[in-house]
Symmetry: C2
Subunit: 244 residues, 2 copies
């Protein structure tokens, strides 16, 4: 499995993915699921993937080579805006489905892929999309300024409670890491290291790419402190007065 | 959907279920999913159900009427110990599968049921089981002193972090309610009111049954305070020093 989360904040985008892939529980590997395209001064995009690794890697390769969209061969470097970029990712997914879908079906396997695409192109505001296996997509809005793919449930409550578009970027990073920590603790198929990408609004460049391992001092502290905080918060709650 | 959780503590059992059933999102009803059998001074058992409502109600009805197990017609009132009671629930599930399974299959529907069974019979310690649709079951142990059915992921992180067999009963009630709150907030198919059942060790009676609605002052306070606590805990965390 996989857990990826993208936050669309007024201050920019925070994108976080784990790196665990598994074919059964006895074949576990580390594969990056974050792919970045950057043309400094013009555009910065990050693509986070969940699902069949052969499918997601094929999608990324096709996006490098160029995908036909309305008669034009486009890449993430040439799509004129974020909506076109999302359409392009959808078109790449459909191309892979056309070539690999029948073979997967012959072997009783589903065509399993979902992709977060976040970024900014030119002076338009940053946008964040979730592209489905069918190639269609939804977009994050101010009402729900985050999107998740993969094993999303464990890490959702904290985002539901706290996140808003006004959340500062550093706070967003902390929140995404807490959300990932809840998932790591409760589901073994999501694993360290994790890949963090930050794209500040109007930077038109990737502001930060960081691979966070077991040794990362901040994340280690965060995990321990968050656990303690939850325990303390729960200890501080009153107990029901109607019990006995 | 459904969320039910059972805690097996040294001090006894805490069992909590929601009451929402839905056939599609436009047909939502309130049905109790907690069923209790009590013979004061001898035994107290609680059964929490998830899955197809026709199936779970049929299982409970068969348990009232008596189910054949190794040639004997038994009920939850006559099973000699908790292991036999769990076998009995499994046998009831298999009986319902035998009668209703083919009809469900004809209509493209799965046979969807899972059941938590907790209780104490006589002087043996309380036990907690999870019975599957196949009629087989697992038991909670000191390593993992809780079992969940239905929409279990949202409410699992807090239990993973805090619960142990030594957790006092009142603390267990608070924890179960927090776990339910996380689920209620993130998944609309789990809904209020919720049904709480407490069986103290060696009481051999149901110590508490309480239906908790929107109006329950303790639960309302708990939900609000827990949200605030999470927000405060997250606010108190340091932010990464490697960002910018």
């Amino acid at each position: 499995m996989t857990y990826c989360v993208g936050l669309l904040l007024d201050a920019g985008l925070v994108m976080l993915s784990d790196t665990r892939t598994n074919a059964g529980v006895d074949n576990i590997s580390v594969f990056g699921k974050t792919f970045v395209h950057e043309t400094p001064g013009e555009r910065a995009l990050a693509l986070l993937t969940a699902g069949n690794l052969a499918v997601t890697q094929a999608v990324w390769n096709r996006l490098q080579e160029g995908v036909k969209l309305d008669g034009q061969l486009l890449t993430l470097g040439s799509a004129e805006n974020m909506f076109r970029a999302a359409q392009l990712v959808g078109a790449a997914v459909r191309e892979v489905f056309a070539t690999d879908g029948p073979g997967l079906r012959d072997h009783g396997l589903g065509f399993d892929v979902s992709i977060l695409l976040g970024g900014q192109i030119g002076t338009a505001p940053p946008r964040l999309f979730l592209v489905y296996a069918a190639g269609n997509f939804i977009e994050a809005t101010a009402d729900t300024p985050f999107l998740q793919i993969g094993e999303h449930k464990y890490g959702k409550p904290i985002l539901d409670r706290v996140l808003s578009p006004a959340t500062p970027l550093a706070d967003g990073v902390t929140l995404a890491l807490i959300s990932m920590d809840s998932t790591l603790r409760s589901n073994l198929t999501v694993g360290l290291p994790i890949d963090l990408t930050v794209i500040r609004r109007d930077a038109l460049a990737v502001s930060l790419r960081r691979r966070i391992t077991e040794e990362d001092a901040y994340f280690a502290f965060l995990r321990q402190r968050w656990s303690e905080s939850l325990r303390e918060a729960y200890q501080a709650l009153p107990r029901p007065d109607w019990l006995d």
